[in-house]
């Protein structure tokens, strides 16, 4: 067993209101530079929808992630080493910038400098950030917000549904899906990088691009099934979400988590066995979810703790892993699910699926969406939202997706009964196989969601961060680099241990 730590995230989708604060703060922090105008390390898309970039989930088209070959061996969908190098001069699986969108800027001077007394209000004209020419804006990273536009029925996940989805106003459903890099345990981008410039950090599993070693072969962009590696067209190098590693090292949550208005993000560490990763990525389609859950090691198991200690992990990390909200949501309550486990990259950003599509459907079907029995029946009867969620989060396993929704529905009904008349709804607990204490702790973590419980980032990192602080500036400060504009040799003051 080779025990490693991974900083992982869980997002509770029921609480996402699609406000894009995470996207905006991320953009201001990391990608407000020339060459990354079109890049959103964090984006929020509306589901159903084709997403950003367009149709990124359609792996028949983009060839991202891994698949099993005829003999059941794990291979990159876009081809192995020789095939990849043979396509290095023109990568056939690279999205064009139009698959993201053409970035635009506006001539705002016209609003400021317009003479007084104009008959018509001056209008600012969009200009392409790529060519400087006037342009019409016809697409964006969030064009489909709240089922806007007319592309949502082209969502690749809808192909897997047994019934046709109708998008009539009163029958439809939608939810928001915030996405960052998954910092996978079996990253296809790292595996496809010809230069070896991409790597997974041994200490915390964060996947990064070495800006000095990237040679711009752009294979990572194709190989990532989530399309979360981007080409900076000004520097000719790949860039991606860094999980805000300077903040994580300082014991702070990522900027998307810190600023999340809905408080729906959770950050913590997980132990996993590196030797088990390949096997877990190579199981049959029906076992994907269980296999990916089974890679994580129980932080309360003494064998695991001993292994972690032997591998040189500090005591703070062992304790942080026990307090990890991510471990609780994924492995204890088993209500968090990975996004597209069938890509076989073992993503490390998991999601608590939203109950809202089912509630919408229950309401549309004339059922009482406050009655747990009705919700349970709705989950059983109304296949569309459950099948859709299963296509996103469980590789099509509707029982697993439905089971999670049952837990969430039962938690609501149980807490409603506790709060309103003090009764304990034992039949609900029996239905989901959880104890009253567990459900109340789950409720506290999901609904109260205190800052210190959402973000458990190990203290040992902070000690190292002090040493890091002494470096002053960061190695990414070069011309056009992700840290460009840093203040050079002036050390940054980092406040830690914030709570609210």
């Amino acid at each position: 067993m080779r025990i490693r730590a991974q900083v992982a995230m869980v997002m509770n989708l029921d609480k996402c209101i699609g406000c894009h604060t995470c996207s905006v703060t991320c953009k201001q922090t990391w990608t407000n530079r020339e060459g990354t105008e079109y890049v959103w390390f964090n984006n929020v898309e509306t589901k159903p929808g084709i997403g950003y970039p367009k149709h990124y989930e359609d792996q028949d088209r983009w060839k991202g992630g891994w698949k099993l070959d005829g003999k059941g061996r794990l291979v990159l969908r876009g081809g192995g080493r020789v095939k990849r190098l043979s396509r290095i001069f023109a990568n056939p699986d690279l999205p064009s910038i139009d698959d993201y969108y053409e970035p635009a800027t506006f001539d705002k001077d016209i609003l400021v400098n317009a003479p007084a007394g104009l008959k018509d209000t001056p209008v600012k004209q969009p200009y392409s950030a790529l060519t400087g020419e006037p342009m019409a804006i016809t697409w964006g990273a969030n064009w489909e917000d709240s089922l806007g536009g007319d592309t949502f029925d082209q969502d690749p996940n809808l192909k897997n549904l047994t019934e046709k989805v109708t998008f009539e106003f009163e029958k439809t459903f939608m939810f928001h899906l915030p996405r960052i890099c998954e910092h996978c345990l079996n990253p296809a981008c790292v595996s496809a990088c010809p230069s070896g410039a991409m790597y997974k950090r041994e200490e915390d599993g964060i996947v990064l691009v070495d800006q000095d070693r990237c040679r711009g072969w752009r294979m990572c962009v194709s190989a990532c099934p989530y399309k979360k590696v981007y080409v900076n067209h000004a520097t000719g190098k790949a860039e991606k979400c860094t999980l805000c590693f300077p903040r994580i090292e300082a014991g702070q949550p990522t900027i998307c988590s810190e600023t999340c208005v809905g408080r729906l993000r959770y950050l913590g560490i997980l132990w996993y066995d590196e030797d088990a990763v390949l096997a877990a990525a190579s199981v049959g389609d029906e076992d994907l979810l269980d296999a990916q859950r089974a890679v994580f090691l129980d932080p309360f198991d003494e064998t695991v703790q001993r292994a972690a200690r032997d591998a040189g992990h500090p005591q703070e990390w062992i304790e942080a892993a026990q307090a990890s909200p991510v471990w609780r949501l994924i492995s204890e309550y088993r209500i968090a699910l990975p996004l597209h486990p069938e890509y076989r990259t073992l993503p490390m950003v998991w999601y608590v699926p939203p109950l809202s599509p089912v509630l919408d459907a229950a309401g549309a079907a004339g059922r009482d969406d406050t009655n747990a029995d009705d919700i349970f029946h709705t989950i059983d009867d109304l296949r569309i939202p459950v099948e859709y969620l299963a296509s996103l989060f469980t590789a099509g396993d509707t029982a697993a997706a439905g089971g999670v929704l049952m837990k969430l529905a039962a938690m609501r009904a149980y807490m409603r009964a506790r709060t309103l008349d003090g009764t304990v709804a034992q039949e609900l607990l029996d239905g989901i196989g959880m104890t009253g204490e567990q459900v109340e702790a789950m409720y506290r973590l999901l609904a109260i969601a205190k800052y210190d419980e959402r973000y458990v980032i190990p203290a040992a990192h902070r000690a190292q961060a002090a040493a890091l602080d002494g470096l002053g500036g960061c190695s990414l400060d070069g011309e056009g680099g992700p840290g460009m504009g840093g203040s050079g040799a002036v050390p940054v003051t980092i406040t830690t241990g914030r709570s609210r």
């Binding site: 190098l85 023109a90 997974k200 080409v231 067209h233 040493a467 011309e479």
Partner: protein, 244 residues
Amino acid sequence: MSTLVWIVLPYTCLVVFVAGHVWRWRHDQFGWTTHTSQLLENRLLRLGSPLFHLGAFGVIGGHAMGLLIPASWTALLGISGHTYHLVSVTGGTITGIMLVVGLALLIARRFISGRIRRVTTTMDRILYAALTVMVALGMSGTVAVNLLGEGYDYRETIAVWFRGIFWLQPDPSLMSGAPLVFRLHAIGGFLFLALWPFTRLVHVWSAPLAYLWRPYVVYRRRRTPAPQPQPAPAAARKVVTPSS
């Protein structure tokens, strides 16, 4: 004059070639890239780039064959001058045409696509101009002189002079009888080498062959100093530098 052109110039260019690469490698890892623009334009690149690169491999291979292998060696192997001529002219013409078409497409996309025009640097323009001149001179040598014309046996003159450069005994008199296009191509070739380290051509030396046997997932430790038990005094902080 011939000493200047056929001795001083080649050595100067080779020194610039080597020193330029050392300087660039040490000081500009961040700029050491293919500078891909496929994201911005794919239609012309999809055809032009593979044609250009595969053509260039053929052309470089052909130059290595013609310049580095003495005629006496191929004669020893029983390859007649006629057979050699046939192979070199056919191969040179085919790969040369691939190179010309590829280069034309790559240059065309620099003009046609506004997106590409905006990201084209001065150094790119110089590089494309130099490539065009070199390819034009080379192709006129291969096609006009050796394929259609009476032919010129560069293996007895230019190749001997070229190898002499590396033995430190270049003989400028060998170049006096060479046709003008060959002489210009030889001069241009050395100037091109001198230009090389300052352009995006440096990506050639990063051809990712190691990818073929590397394990898929790369793990790296963080590049930070070990955690210190006590905060370092301000004076000591300056010493710590990020090293690779």
